[in-house]
């Protein structure tokens, strides 16, 4: 069988990334230009600044990627692009670049949903086994997805308000820890104790999540402690917050596995890098005989390799777009 080389382009938020992946699993080259330092001074991603950075970076990233893989555009089989969801201005830079390359080289254009990308980041380390439940948790997403086979997605539930990563950033800001909040809180929590009492969010039978109440509870707690003249013990608050978050997510994830009689779990997205979450799920999966896999740290955050990997399976299913493809800030995974 002829090898398939997919060029994947990702620009949905604050990372301009491009990768070349062979046959949906072998990462030949990945280049990521992160804007994290630029947005740090604003305490979060500023969409217009993100778009401005993407347009500056895009050709540098493409060129470095091709050079790293020692390949020419003519050797690429198809171009996969994150069409959504994400920040519309950011998405459009990747999209227009992908469409231009598709037009010039007459290569198929493959639209990839960002969440599908996160899920297929796992395929770069271990081939996905089906059926599976995917827990996607990142700055913009918190979802449970059931997959019967390759490139078939059934969303079981998701967040009703804030994404979990967003909640981490907000909590970090309240307690005065640097942006991005996820890694900082994860690190602090390791040396703290879960002594603060926080509400358990949306403790029901659905597969949905809700984190805005928890976020408000942390803000109120910080405020009350200050009014009482007590120092907020950041480590303990981080540990308390993490415990509630990880318990909630784990509980619903395990429920989905049981209800759907599935014994493969994967996690994906930036929050999949969270140490406590990985440990907790690993323990629960071992106890319940579930095969648990997660991507390497470098594939957890946004990158072109995950888009190229997902793009391979989309391509195999004939999901090709024409040059009229548009970006969508919101779109259902299907």
């Amino acid at each position: 069988m002829k090898d398939i080389y997919i060029l994947g382009i990702e620009s949905s938020c604050d990372e301009t990334s491009c990768s070349i992946v062979k046959n949906g699993c072998e990462n030949l080259a990945t280049v990521i230009s992160s804007q994290i330092d630029i947005h740090a001074s604003f305490g979060g991603v500023v969409p217009e600044i993100a778009s401005r950075e993407h347009v500056k970076n895009i050709t540098f990233v493409l060129e470095e990627c091709l050079t790293k893989a020692n390949m020419k555009m003519s050797e690429i089989t198809a171009i996969a692009i994150t069409y959504g969801p994400g920040l519309i201005g950011s998405l459009l830079i990747g999209l227009e670049a992908a469409k231009t390359l598709s037009f010039i080289y007459n290569k198929p254009l493959i639209p990839v949903h960002h969440i599908a990308g996160h899920i297929y980041a796992n395929n770069l380390n271990n081939k996905l086994k089906f059926p599976l439940i995917a827990l996607v948790a990142s700055g913009g997403h918190t979802e449970l997805v059931y997959m019967k086979e390759d490139y078939s997605f059934e969303k079981l539930g998701g967040t009703l308000d804030d994404a979990i990563g967003e909640c981490y950033d907000k909590v970090a800001r309240v307690v005065g820890i640097p942006y991005p909040g996820g890694p900082s809180i994860d690190k602090l929590a390791l040396v703290g104790k879960a002594t603060y009492k926080l509400p358990i969010p949306l403790n029901d039978n659905s597969y949905n999540f809700s984190f805005s109440g928890l976020k408000s509870a942390v803000i109120n707690l910080a405020h009350n402690e200050k009014q009482r003249g007590r120092d907020l013990i950041k480590e303990d608050l981080a540990a308390s917050f993490q415990t509630v978050v990880v318990d909630t997510i784990s509980k619903k994830t395990m429920k989905a596995l049981k209800d759907y009689n599935v014994d493969n779990l994967i996690i994906a997205g930036g929050v999949a890098a969270n140490k406590l979450l990985r440990e907790k799920l690993a323990t629960l999966c071992t106890e319940n005989g579930v095969n648990f896999t997660f991507p390497e740290m470098k594939y957890c955050t946004d990158n072109g390799a995950m888009i190229a990997a997902a793009g391979y399976f989309a391509y195999k299913k004939g999901r090709i777009a024409d040059l009229n493809l548009n970006s969508k800030s919101n779109d259902k995974l299907n």
């Binding site: 500023v46 600044i49 050709t59 830079i93 670049a97």
Partner: protein, 212 residues
């Protein structure tokens, strides 16, 4: 053969120019569909005229000011094209293109783009299309005062509905623009970037906060 691209407004203006002739052109109001149709409509010009992508020897892209999103669409297409096929690329501002396309015989030409809240992006050009007032983001009322002080004939140019008398509607003379700018200095495609003429709101707030 020159490829001209301007998506800085709600219009797509694009053309392929060869030997002082327009081979094919698009002048179409696309509004929010610019991101959908810019590439396919440019592609159509190539297909219909049987032009190969590497027949292009120069790309002229209008890099702003105007709609931030619009500017980025055209600049991205142009720089990716120029970079991947190693084609010469140069930029011009939308205000230069507007001044050059004007059919007025006035001493001065004042191209403007609506920037909302009483502001415009504007410049002032003389008869020879030399810029005599640096293009910038300016309050319309202030611009009106400056123009009045010129004490000579002038014409306003825009394709936005701006509150001035005798507004000349902008219709790009792409052939004239290409002829004038085809020999302009070539840029490294990686370094081709938009000319927004305005910081983002977040940057302005940060600047103000530092100032206080």
């Amino acid at each position: 053969m020159i490829l001209y691209i301007d998506t800085t407004s709600n219009y797509l203006y694009s053309a392929i120019v060869s030997n002082n002739k327009i081979i094919s052109q698009v002048k179409e109001q696309l509004d929010s569909d610019l991101s959908v149709y810019a590439v396919p409509k440019i592609a159509d010009m190539f297909d219909k005229n049987d032009i190969a992508k590497d027949d292009i020897t120069k790309i002229i892209v209008v890099n702003g000011p105007g709609s931030f999103t619009g500017i980025r669409i055209g600049v991205t297409i142009a720089k990716v094209y120029a970079w991947t096929l190693k084609i010469d690329i140069t930029t011009i501002t939308s205000l230069e293109a507007m001044a050059l396309s004007s059919k007025s015989n006035t001493t001065y030409k004042v191209p403007m783009i609506d920037a909302r809240r009483g502001y415009v992006f504007a410049g002032i050009f003389d008869k020879d299309n030399e810029q005599i007032f640096k293009s910038k983001y300016i309050k319309l009322d202030d611009l009106k005062d400056i123009v009045k002080d010129l004490n000579d004939s002038y014409s306003w140019i825009s394709n936005n509905d701006i509150d001035v008398s005798n507004l000349e509607a902008y219709d790009p003379d792409i052939l004239k623009i290409c002829n004038k700018y085809q020999d302009k200095e070539t840029l490294n495609p990686h370094l081709v970037k938009p000319e927004y003429m305005k910081l983002t709101e977040a940057e302005e707030n940060l600047k103000e906060a530092k100032h206080d």
